[in-house]
């Protein structure tokens, strides 16, 4: 594995291998001295064209715990307005010795372009490209589900038969895309719940069934996992839904809806949360919520991804 661009690129064996290695990494993360020498002498660049403090920090911590040198490069604004092309930026960073680029970009496909256009030869890790994918988020979500279900016996386990409901702005969500692809590879059944305006135009998206209301989804699907997506308030001004209140009433995970989930069901959110909009404080702070576990697991999973892509190479 040279790059991580899309969850669709990963075979079941590769997914399980990444998740199992992440289990090892989480042991390291529970130690007093949280450091491995694996990537000593290697240089990893966080190349972020879009603000995302939490994802950037998560990758930074992961790379540092593997002893890599980490450079943060924030290139806000589009390549056009900035005057430098994506190609030139990437080639410049590689010329400075970067061996892996962790890329967050507002354009769908930007990470794919860097990996496939022949511009550079570095490892590319997609840390979110436009509305396309965010594969490490899906990996950490899968890791979190597995951990909740199987605890310390998680290694080697898939998610066979697990019923996962993804709720909210599927249309614009790279988290939804990556999760749909990855969770299906792991054997889970994924369905969607969203207003029709926030589903892709062909709502039979990648073959996933969908509900137009959250209540129907809860009552008919009986999900084991409810994954709430962040709602951007700018969607409201673009008439994807009328008001925050109406969105919340139709698709928010209220205390009442939380109570109707099975008691073992877990509640996930990639953060940052809009409390009171897509998720109530009762749900976010409940014992069923995995929000903070997701953050912690993100570091272990990203350590594992860096390890899989970069370890064992001799320096060129």
């Amino acid at each position: 594995m040279k790059h991580l661009i899309s969850a669709a690129d990963l075979s079941l064996d590769e997914i399980l291998s990444i998740l199992d290695t992440a289990e090892e990494m989480s042991v390291v993360n529970d130690r007093d001295v949280k450091k491995l020498p694996t990537l000593r002498g290697k240089t990893v660049v966080n190349l972020f064209f879009e603000d995302s403090t939490r994802t950037r920090i998560s990758f930074e911590v992961a790379a540092k715990r593997l002893s890599a040198d980490v450079i943060n490069f924030s290139a806000k604004g589009s390549s056009v307005s900035k005057g430098e092309s994506l190609k030139d930026t990437a080639q410049t960073l590689e010329a400075m010795g970067a061996q892996a680029l962790i890329v967050r970009h507002h354009a769908s496909g930007a990470a794919h372009n860097l990996a496939n256009s022949g511009w550079i030869s570095s490892h590319i890790i997609n840390a979110g490209d436009g509305k396309h994918e965010h594969p490490t988020q899906a990996l950490l979500d899968a890791f979190t589900m597995r951990k909740r279900i199987h605890g310390s016996h998680s290694r080697g386990k898939s998610l066979d038969g697990l019923k996962v409901l993804i709720v909210g702005d599927v249309l614009h969500s790279r988290v939804a895309r990556s999760n749909l692809l990855l969770l299906r590879s792991l054997g889970a059944e994924v369905r969607l719940a969203a207003p029709a305006t926030l589903l892709p135009a062909n709502p039979n998206f990648l073959g996933a069934s969908y509900y137009l209301g959250l209540d129907d989804a809860i009552d008919e699907f009986h999900p084991d996992v409810v994954m709430m997506l962040r709602v951007q308030l700018e969607r409201m001004s673009a008439s994807f839904f009328p008001t925050a209140r109406e969105y919340s009433r139709g698709w928010g995970l209220s205390a009442e809806r939380l109570a109707r989930l099975s008691e073992n069901a877990i509640v996930m959110h990639p953060g940052p949360m809009n409390r009171g909009l897509e998720i109530s404080s009762e749900a976010a702070d409940s014992a069923q919520s995995t929000v903070l576990e997701q953050v912690a697991n993100g570091i272990s999973v990203r350590m594992s991804v860096l390890y899989h892509l970069m370890s064992g190479e001799t320096r060129e």
């Binding site: 190609k87 354009a107 372009n113 256009s117 436009g130 509305k131 135009a201």
Partner: protein, 430 residues
């Protein structure tokens, strides 16, 4: 007697083999056993009326890094064209008599094809104020086709006014049908592929709704309307319905919409980014059928050159458009001839006769007969050629590069003079 120029042993596409004699700019004899001071051997080559492109972007004035009137003219000649219609979206926009006359003069100076400029419908393509259509029509460029191509004349009242106003000189509005609100930020065809790729969708209905509106306007006003680059199956249905009602509508399709689908976007390679976008296989098949049955009148290239940096970037940031002048006849042959579905006469209609008629081009699109202007393309249909990106065009954004396509233009005769011989450009003495 010895004629000035004789094309020996040409195939007229119906099985007959004849010699074509040319004096000055005119075909003067079609027979066997003709001899000339200059003879060009054409055995095995199909003789077709020189092609006429109703939709070309030459980028001059303003974007000469992408293409000039000269380089675009050479690319056109290489593709068998003897006339092209450059669109108005240059800088400055071709919205005055001065600009269209300048473009025409550049075309005359280049000397490879007739350059008939298309005038803008609205000032600066802004959609707000009608451009001086009459002045452009009366100018030396004699503009008859008007288009805001690149942008849609989306305001229905503006469209109405334009359709009415051009009746004085039998002009035609060529509409780039794209509802702007339905396509805000649009990047590719809206469908399964866009959903998976996370690229903002360009729904077919944004094209279809404008076509439906405009054919009804044309019917109401008894005006002529031409629809640029049809791209969906439902657009075909609307045009078919309109023609059945007797509405004076003509329609074009591009070579790329006849051959390529939105599956190519999975590469995220912006060479496949074009407006309107590549659609689905079902759309491609409907467009081909419509070209064969006459619902679609012409193939127009929408040749849209761009410099490398406009395509060597992420998809969202890349420019829309692809070149096509030098590959169009190959796609036409694939769809009409090699499919076994149609014939060379139909190919001549969609590549030459019909576009010249729509634009009222003098001396273009004439059937090959004595007295016709000697504009001819000689095509070898037996060749299979691998398409390369480096061509006569200044730009390389060629989505067909690497593909193998049938047919090759061997000679082009423009107003009695060879512009391409044995597949190579003939340098024009200046």
């Amino acid at each position: 007697m010895n004629y000035q120029l004789v094309l020996k042993n040409t195939n007229l596409g119906d099985g007959t083999t004849v010699d074509i004699a040319i004096e000055q700019e005119t075909i003067v004899a079609i027979d066997t056993g003709l001899s000339g001071e200059v003879e060009i051997e054409c055995r095995g080559l199909i003789a077709l009326p020189g092609f006429v492109d109703l939709h070309t972007h030459l980028r001059e004035p303003g974007f000469e890094a992408s293409e000039t009137v000269l380089t675009g003219s050479r690319a056109a000649a290489k593709g068998g064209y003897t006339a092209i219609h450059p669109m108005a979206n240059t800088n400055p926009v071709a919205d005055t008599a001065g600009v269209v006359e300048q473009v025409k003069a550049l075309g005359d100076a280049a000397g490879y094809v007739d350059v008939f400029p298309i005038g803008a419908v609205t000032v600066d393509l802004g959609g707000v104020q009608l451009a001086e259509l009459g002045a452009m029509a009366d100018s030396k460029a004699k503009v008859r086709v008007f288009s805001d191509d690149g942008k849609c004349v989306s305001d229905p009242l503006m469209m109405r006014r334009a359709l009415e106003y051009v009746k004085k000189f039998d002009g035609v509005i060529a509409q780039h049908a794209q509802d702007p609100r339905l396509t805000e930020g649009a990047q590719m065809n809206e469908g399964q592929v866009s959903a998976q790729l996370g690229l903002t969708g360009w729904p077919g209905v944004a094209e279809e709704s404008i076509i439906a509106r405009d054919v009804m306007l044309a019917e109401t006003l008894d005006s002529r309307i031409h629809i640029c680059h049809l791209s969906t199956a439902r657009s075909v249905e609307i045009v078919r319905w309109a023609k059945q009602r007797g509405i004076r509508v003509t329609a074009e399709v591009t070579p790329h919409h006849l051959l390529l689908t939105d599956e190519l976007a999975r590469t995220y390679d912006p060479v496949y980014k074009v407006n309107p976008p590549l659609r689905t296989e079902a759309d491609v098949l409907a467009l081909r059928e419509a070209l064969i049955d006459g619902t679609i009148d012409i193939i127009a290239t929408d040749h849209a050159p761009h410099p490398a940096e406009a395509k060597e970037c992420e998809w969202d940031a890349a420019a829309f458009g692809m070149v096509g002048l030098e590959t169009a006849v190959s796609v036409a042959q694939l769809v009409l001839i090699d499919s076994g579905r149609s014939n060379w006469q139909r190919l001549a209609e969609v590549m030459s006769l019909n576009p010249a008629k729509i634009a009222a081009d003098l001396g273009q699109g004439e059937a090959i007969k004595v007295g016709s202007t000697a504009n001819l393309a000689l095509v070898d249909p037996a060749v299979q050629r691998e398409i390369v990106a480096v061509t006569e065009s200044k730009s390389r954004n060629n989505p067909f590069a690497g593909m193998t396509l049938p047919g090759r233009v061997v000679h082009t005769i423009y107003r009695g003079r060879p512009t391409v011989l044995d597949g190579s450009i003939v340098e024009v003495a200046r």
